[in-house]
Every structure is written in structure tokens, then in C-alpha cells.
Symmetry: D2
Subunit: 341 residues, 4 copies
Amino acid sequence: MTGSTARAKLNVGLIGVGRLGRIYARDLSTRIACTRLVAVADVDRSAVDEITGEFDVPFGTTNPEDLISHPSVDAVVIVTPTSTHRAVTEAAAASGKAVFCEKPLSISLDEASAIKHAVERSGIFFQMGFMRRFDRGFAAAKQRLGEGAIGEAVVFKSTSRDPFRPSVEYADPRSSGGMILDMGIHDFDLARWFMGEVATVQAIGGVLAYPELGAVGDIDNAIISLVFTSGRLGVVDLTRNGIYGYDIITELLGTQGTLRVGYIRETPLLIMTKGVVAHDTVPYFMERFAQAYTAQLENFAQNVLHGRQPPITVDDGVQALRIAVAATRAQHTGQRVEVES
Amino acid sequence: MTGSTARAKLNVGLIGVGRLGRIYARDLSTRIACTRLVAVADVDRSAVDEITGEFDVPFGTTNPEDLISHPSVDAVVIVTPTSTHRAVTEAAAASGKAVFCEKPLSISLDEASAIKHAVERSGIFFQMGFMRRFDRGFAAAKQRLGEGAIGEAVVFKSTSRDPFRPSVEYADPRSSGGMILDMGIHDFDLARWFMGEVATVQAIGGVLAYPELGAVGDIDNAIISLVFTSGRLGVVDLTRNGIYGYDIITELLGTQGTLRVGYIRETPLLIMTKGVVAHDTVPYFMERFAQAYTAQLENFAQNVLHGRQPPITVDDGVQALRIAVAATRAQHTGQRVEVES
Amino acid sequence: MTGSTARAKLNVGLIGVGRLGRIYARDLSTRIACTRLVAVADVDRSAVDEITGEFDVPFGTTNPEDLISHPSVDAVVIVTPTSTHRAVTEAAAASGKAVFCEKPLSISLDEASAIKHAVERSGIFFQMGFMRRFDRGFAAAKQRLGEGAIGEAVVFKSTSRDPFRPSVEYADPRSSGGMILDMGIHDFDLARWFMGEVATVQAIGGVLAYPELGAVGDIDNAIISLVFTSGRLGVVDLTRNGIYGYDIITELLGTQGTLRVGYIRETPLLIMTKGVVAHDTVPYFMERFAQAYTAQLENFAQNVLHGRQPPITVDDGVQALRIAVAATRAQHTGQRVEVES
Amino acid sequence: MTGSTARAKLNVGLIGVGRLGRIYARDLSTRIACTRLVAVADVDRSAVDEITGEFDVPFGTTNPEDLISHPSVDAVVIVTPTSTHRAVTEAAAASGKAVFCEKPLSISLDEASAIKHAVERSGIFFQMGFMRRFDRGFAAAKQRLGEGAIGEAVVFKSTSRDPFRPSVEYADPRSSGGMILDMGIHDFDLARWFMGEVATVQAIGGVLAYPELGAVGDIDNAIISLVFTSGRLGVVDLTRNGIYGYDIITELLGTQGTLRVGYIRETPLLIMTKGVVAHDTVPYFMERFAQAYTAQLENFAQNVLHGRQPPITVDDGVQALRIAVAATRAQHTGQRVEVES
């Protein structure tokens, strides 16, 4: 992971140190050999202090713009609430700083377009965060598919299950974009990565487990079917009531075989008692995708350092969002919806 | 399976001794203690001779009506092509014979209604064949659900994969009703059994692996989403290109947990060579559901012998067909379709 | 399983209708096309009546000799207590009847020699019962090994676990031969089948879970290591406190890979609740080896009908017993013991 | 893993930067928040340069004594060849430095005693390396056992398989102590940890896959049975020809259930092609125990920083060695050997 020739280091400023941001802080400062975490920004002063203290980060601020414009910062990693992605990206574009931006790009296509224009106009390096592509399981599936292990992939299936209800504040569609966008954006990105562009979507959804989510206008279960422009098929099912654990399963049905990515057992221990064999489950996304998050950030840093193109572009962010927005509309209207492109 | 008190035997006439009919012949004559296979009918004379010879069946004919009216026959098991179900059932109704009828009831709702009327008018015992309900896995799931193991089931998922293409003749929608009906009827019956009635369906499908199926107007992959009258959700995905094996998976997502039924390993042997662990797969439905087929026929016989009501009625056959017909229409039109009831 | 050309039937007399004998009665009368169960003997009159009634068996007796000498009986299946094997076999030898004898052949080498001499002197067909060889998993392993899938097998490992304590009467070494013989005889037969003859054994054992077994001189756990005449290695571990289920696992470590036979999940249902994925277990040997028992009896019948040699001979019974006796002695003495041959 | 209160850092000198030492260098410098890698020693100058360069280590030397006596070094991590453990530990004891020492302590009981005396006389902190105890699977098993999940553990089983032959130089018993010691030391430590002290051992072994190992006096397969002082039983089997992958399985059979630790699938990808389901395997110990190695070093550092007792002592190292030495003698002599204590 940390090759011995990786001498050059990228000086990174991290904006947002909530749940995921803290993992990024740890990765950028201790796990990834080619990065140096030189600045941290968050609206929460105490969070900034905590992270700068723990990881010896020289600069901390509650103002993202100060971080972006700081001369020691070569690249910016954005893990802030989605609604701020546009402003932060535009500031980075203005400063000519490289950007890594967590998914989703935004929750509206207008904002997404604005971000895209800012990136294109400024010419900054911009890499979208879709960590599943860096998971060893998904990466291996991509490689095997490319090698022809299952012939042509003709059906895409993807399941995402959260083990518990998000907070009602988090789930509010005005900030989250709604469950289909919030959870499904990963599956839609995988759909495109493995299969190509989506032409039309249909969707059903409902409030089946947590009525309090309905009170803020969200749903807790959805099933979205996809027709790709190639005529191939896909289906994504999303649930907030995974209950047993965090379960992510993706299948590619091909003309010569099938690839299935996923696992639900966390610890290599079987407990076998009278008539029952049991094991534990994957708690949540940090456990499931720890390796992927680290690999993704390292990839970002290496790309910037070596002048490579980003493997996941702002367009990938826009396009996944288009599917999510179309699917959300399809769920609302009960109609088939075309995905613009 | 064969209780020691099961003295009374049901004299059964079997109509249709194709692939599945032969298994029924074996079960009725050797596996099930409470049945006696006393007559066999099939349009294929040599098949009749073969079965009557192998299992010492006293009466064989190429004319189903002769079998139905034969005085030694108390009950009729119908495993003929779907298009004949109406005529055979009507003849059985006229003779007052008990009927077990393989799925699907028919491929048209008109025929299904005619069968239903014949059954109701005559008052004969009529049991629909949906063997999955008798599979130990599905039966255990039903029991666990009833015990509250996962709270309320709110999402139904079901996958059916055939390991190879059917013959083009078999697949022809004029006789098979099309893939959504031919394969999905089992999943639709499970959907109703576990979750209740279906209100609306949406469906997508395509010819993705076997162009020759398109030539006769069929498809080889489909995804059908279901909204139950309760507002709960379901999704069924069907494929002819299972390739790796016969894979049937059903999941019930509940408010407190999930039940998952299915397996794909046939033989308890792992072959572990350099960097690879491998095992075989379930070949086809006869292997996967051998236990279920036998249990279903025995249940039929016991019900007739003891004057019990059929657990799967002609209405169940009609209602599963309604979902299948609606889903087929939804796939053709791209629109959401209501399921009549 | 029951080919359509199997016209000839073998008339079988079954001696012993305890737990396993009843399964044999069902198999011989209903599951196996080429056998006819024509006589049943057991010291328990009511058991005889029950079986003859259930399966329409024409002749029932409490005297095995009457069954053996009955003119309608072509072949005898022996499922009686081990201590009777000699007498029954000698009577069958005197009558020239073919014999299938359940394992173990006997619990003493003297008795085993007597049986062997009776068989050889009379020239009767004699097939030893070791049903694991007919299990699809073990059979597939044998075939794969023969095909070179793992190179040369150099280490044999076998685990047998009973899910609960046997009755103290059953366990009494004076009738059972002790746990190493009672349970291990299957593993020792597999060891020979896969690897060849055993030269020396070492063993440890103890009363660790059920003190009441110690009171009659038996143990409840044992580990036996084997050195084959080829210099290759083996280990067998046996336990009465499987508790979670009936677990049989055999591994062959080869120079190019490993074969592993075994499974512990009975029903294809996963129950997934908060933090836990669970499934049931295999209850006991009748469930685990149902297919193997039927296949073995059918094989016996086909061999007799077609004049084929038995695949498992009286010598196989003697040789497995020699290992068991040596291992029992090794456990008692703590010394390495040579296996006579 | 890296708690925010972990302000104090331990200045560590690492002696030995071979295969495992490099992982330790990475962990000490980047993965573990409470350690600082301040010095590196190895007889290989270029390895020293490489590591000091990659991880910005201020001091590098080819002379371990220089490292040990260096004022910036608070604690020493020893990953050198086993034959040097005594000299390095004695030097550390003389300098009063805390020591973490990789297994095995030594290959001779005399050397082990010398190390033990040096540690005890000097009073230095000394922690033995047995990383399996820090693996989440083994740690969870220990906890479950303590909670009574399986009643009393009465049988211990442990399997260790290497995926390929070691170099002949490495395997030479004069430096490795022979395969039973080299591989089995982990299993013997687990045996003690879970079950208590071992009273006697028996062992068989052979050169079955790699004749070249026999040429230097080593073996490639062994089976060791253990009787604990409590009378409970154990068995350890070791193989160099794992071939398919690195497979470590430990089972504890209890009076109320069984715990099984182990897994062999590395990547969460199933490849399903015609009749076959396949997945990859765990390559080797660095992959299987990456988490454990890191956790173990962090535990060491925290213990030193907070003045806690080592969870694995020099006595644990001595005692595991005693079992290994006895087992090796048992394999040579064919006799049961008592384990001194």
C-alpha cells in the first residue's frame, strides 16, 4: 500500500471532520504514506481542536475558505454536508487547488451543473468519491468482468441495507435528497461503472418500518429498476431496516456466469450451540469499506502527485445524480422516467 | 414421512408422464405410502408403456378421458401441458374425481375462470401445485415468520434462475405464456403466501442472452416490482441464463430481521486448489425441489383421504396467474398495471 | 436412481427393525425399485407386526433362523445388535443366502474371523455396510482423488461428532466395543478406502462431558492418530458432545490441493436478526446419510442380482475392526500399537 | 484504534526488518498512534536504509547493540532470527529497555531459560509475541468462552497450514527448531491460553510432499495430540502443503457447544460459472493476521506507557516452547513425552 518509492508527499487540507471525516483524518495522517494532513476545517471548533491535536495537524480553522487559500494546502478533501459542496468546490477552483469530494456531488442537478462548470472552467483536478470502486471485492469483480470471466454482463443487481434508521434530521430530504439518492447513489455509480449509462428508471418505495421518516417526507425502503441504454437490465433495492447488519451485495449476471460481491460475517468466529450455528455481522460502512476508503484517498493523492486523470470524474458524480433524481421522481409519480444525459 | 397408521390408500391416476410426470409416477408408486398409482395417461404411447411397466401400473392409456372415468381412479394428478388443464379438469369435475393440478393453472385468465367454475360447480376437491410451499426451507421461513422471528415482513424479494435456455418450442409464449408467467408464477405465489395480495406491478425485460427466444416473442430476463395492497413492496427477478446452476433465493425483510431461503451447493464437497476454493451447484429443479414435490403429492393424498381442505386452492392458482398476466402486460407496455382481483 | 430397465427384483429378508432397520424396511419396500421386502424378523414381536403391516410384508417372525431359511428369501439384510452378527451370518451361510451386514462386523477379532470363515467356506455373497462410501460427498471426493484433483493424498483427517450422549446401555463397551470402535469404525473404513492400510495407531481419550459413560467403562472423546503403511499420516477425532448437531467432516490433504467433505446446515434458511446470522444444523445420522443408506442397499441388491462382487467385503469389515481394536488398546495403554493384518 | 487521548508516545527501536519486520516498521511509524519509530537495526545495510528512508526514521544501524543503547530508544521490538533473541534480549536487559520479542522465544530450552533469567534479573518489561491472541476471531472466542457460551471447553483442535514450502535454509531444524516448533508454537500457545497447561504429548510426522525438506532433517506434516493436566484433550495438525491457501482453524469443543475460529476466503467475490462456484483464498500470514499484528504492537506500547503487566510473558514463551520441544521429541521417538514445567 505504501510503496518505498513514494517519496513525494501531497499536503492535504481536510474540510469536515464528522464521522467519516475523522477516518479520513486518520488515513491522511497515518495510513497513507504519500499524504501529509496539514490543515483541518470544520464549523465545530472542538472537533477541529481534537483532530489537530490527535494527528499533529499544524493548521485548524472553522472557516473552510481559510483552509482552501492557505499556502501549505495543495489539495482539498471535502467531507462536509452535501449542501456545502458547491461553495467549497468553487472556492477551491478559485484557488486552483485539487479537490476530492465525497458523494453525492449535490442533491440538485442545478448545483451539480454549477460544480461541474466551476471545475471545468478552472481546470482543477477533481476526483469524485465513490469508495466502493476501491473495495477489493468490487475491484476484483471489475477485473474479472474485463477478463471475460462471465461473458457479457447483461443484468445488474445491487442491494444496500443500513442496519438502523438514520436520525430524522439526517434523513430529511431537503438536506439528504431522500433515501433513494442518499443510499442509492453508490449503487447507481456501480451500475454505470459495470454496465454503462442508464436510459430509464422505474421505482417503488414506502415508509414500512419507521413512520417517523415519513413525517419528514422520506421513505425507508425502495426498489428501483433500470434499463440501460444498451437494453440491459438492472435493479437496486434499498432498505433502512437491515437490522441484522450492514449488507451490501452486488451481482452481475452474464452470458457465461455470474459475479457476486458481498459478505455479512465480520469476525471469523462461529458459535455453535444446540441446533444453531451463528456468527456476527458487519456493523456498518466504516467496517465494511475501511480498506476502500483508504485506498481511494491514496489513489487521489497519487493521481494529483503524478498528474494522472481522476478515475472518477465530476461527470460521474453528475451522472449518478441524474439516475438518483430520476429514480426519486419515478418513485413519486409511479411513472417510468427517462434519465437525461 | 410415511406414518405407520396410514393404512388407507388413495388410488391415483396420473395424466402426463413427461420429465416431471415421471418423478410423480415414482413418488406416487414408491415414495408415498398412502398412494397407489393405478392408471397412467399420456399422448405418448411408449411413455405410457414404460411407466406402467416400471411401476406395475395396472392401467395405461393415451386418452386422458378414459383414465378419468376409470372406476379404479379416485383422484387425478395433472402434469400435462398447461393448455390441456381446462379440458382435463372439466372432465374430472364431470366424473367427480379429486384433482391435483400442476402450475400454472392456465396461461389465460379466461381459461382459469372456466377451470374455477368447473371446480366450484362440481364441488370436487382441487389442489393447485406450487411445490415451493412444501420445501423445507420455505416452510421453515413461513413458520418463523408466523412466530414473529423478524417482526412484520415488509419487503419480499425473490430470484429464480434457470441454468440453461429452454427449448424454443417450450418457450413460445403461445404455449408457455411467456417467461414472466412460466418462471415467475412460483415467485408470485410465494409473494401472496408470505405477504398477501398484490395491488400493482411494474416490469422490465429483455432478450439479453438468447436471441432465438426473441425470435418466438419471448424474453430471457425480467425484473418485476410489486406493491402489495398493504403498501408493502416486492421484487422478483427472473433469468434464463443462470448458467452456474439452478438458483432460487427468496428473502423477507422484516421490521426486526430478515429471512433468507436458498442454497446453490449440491454436493458437500469442497475442492481446494492453488488459490481457489470451489464447489458444485444445484443442477435443476428436480434436484432442488425433490423433497418438496414428494411432500406436496403426499399432502394432496392425505387431504383427499381425510376430507381436509386443500392448502392451495384454485383461487390461489387464479390469483398468481393474475399477477403474472399483469406483470407480462407491464413489461410489454412499460406502464404500471393494476392486478385485478 | 431406479432405472426403467430394472425389471428383476431381489427378495429380501430384513433382520432387525430398530431405529435404522425401519429406514431399511422403507427403502427396501418403497424406495428401491429392484428389491422386494418379503420377510422381517426381530425379537420384538410388536415391531415385526408394525413393519409387516405398514409395508405389506408377507412374512414376519421373531426368529431370524426362520426368516433365513424361508424359501421366499433370496438375500438377508442384517441390522441386528452387533453381538448377533456371527450367528445370523453363519445361518445365512448355511442356507446359501446373500448377506448385507451393517457395521461393525463384530466387536471382537475372534468373532470377525469366525464370520469371515463362514463367508469364505460357504462362498455366499457378503457385503459389509459402510454407508459413507455411498454418500454423494464422499463418493465425489473418491472420484476427484482418482482423477488427480489434489495430486497424491498424504494426510487424512476425519471428525465424527454425535449431537448427544447415547444411552448408557448402548454405550457399554461390552456390547458397543467402546466409543472408538462404535463411532470410529466409519472413519477407519474411510481411512483405508482413501489412503490404504494403517500400520500403527496412537490414541488419547477421556470422559470429559458425560461422567455416566465413565461409570460403564466408556469414554466420550477420543483422538486417534494413524500412520499408514505408506508412511502417510491420519488423524481421527471423535466426540459424543457435538451438541450443536451431527457433524461429519473428512479432509484429504494432497500434494496439489485439499478435498473437504461435510456440511452442518440442514435447512436452506438463514435467520438474520440484530447482529446475528444463524441457521439450523444436521440433526443426526439418518438425516445426514439418508441418501447414502438408500444408495448402499440398492447397490447391494444390484450386485446380487447381477452377480457382481461386493464393493465392501468381509475383509474390509475385519480390517476396519483391526484398526478400531488397536486404537482402543492404544488409548488404554498410552502406547503406539501396531495394526495386525 | 487510535484513541484521541493517546497523547504520550513510546519511542521504539526495531531490530530486524525482514518480511515481518517491514510490516512492524509500517505499523510502528504510521498505524499506531502511540508509537514513534526512532531507530532501526538490521545486519542488512540496504534494508536499514530503505526503511529509514521510507518512514523517516532518524537512526539506522547494522549493529543492534547501538540501537539498544541509543538514548532515544525507550523500547525494543525484536523481529530478528530466533538464534539472536538471547543476545538481543540480554543487551536490552542490560540497558533496562522494554522488550517485545517475536515468537518463538528460542529453539532451545537452555536459551529460553537464559532469556527468562535475564528478564527476571533485570526486571525489564518483556512481552512475548503471539499475535493470534490479538486476532479478532481468537479474541472473540476467548471472550465467548469466558462468558460460558459453550460451557466448559473439553477438547482443543488447531490446524495450521502454510500455502507453500519454506526455503530449505529457513526450514533447517538447526535454525528453525524444526516444523513442529516453527509452525506449532502458535497452536501450543493457543492451547495453553484456552485450556491450561499440557501434561503429555504424542506426535507423528513425515516428509510427504517436499523430499528436499527431509534432506535437511525436517518434516512437512505433523499431527500432535495433547493431554492437558486437567485430563482434557487436544490435537494440533500442521502442514506445509496447504497449497490452496493459508488456513488457520481452531476449535474448542465444550460441554454446551463449540467455537470455531477461521476463514479461508480473502476477497468478497464469488465467481459462478457453469456448475462451479469459486472464490479466492487467504494468501499468507500477513494478510490473515494484519489486524492482529498491529493490535499486538499497540497493546505492547500501551502496556509500557501505562505501566501495565504484559499479557503474554516470558514464561508463556518458555512454556509454549516446552510443548514444542516435547512434541518434537515425541515425533522422533514415537513415544508419549511428558511436558516439563
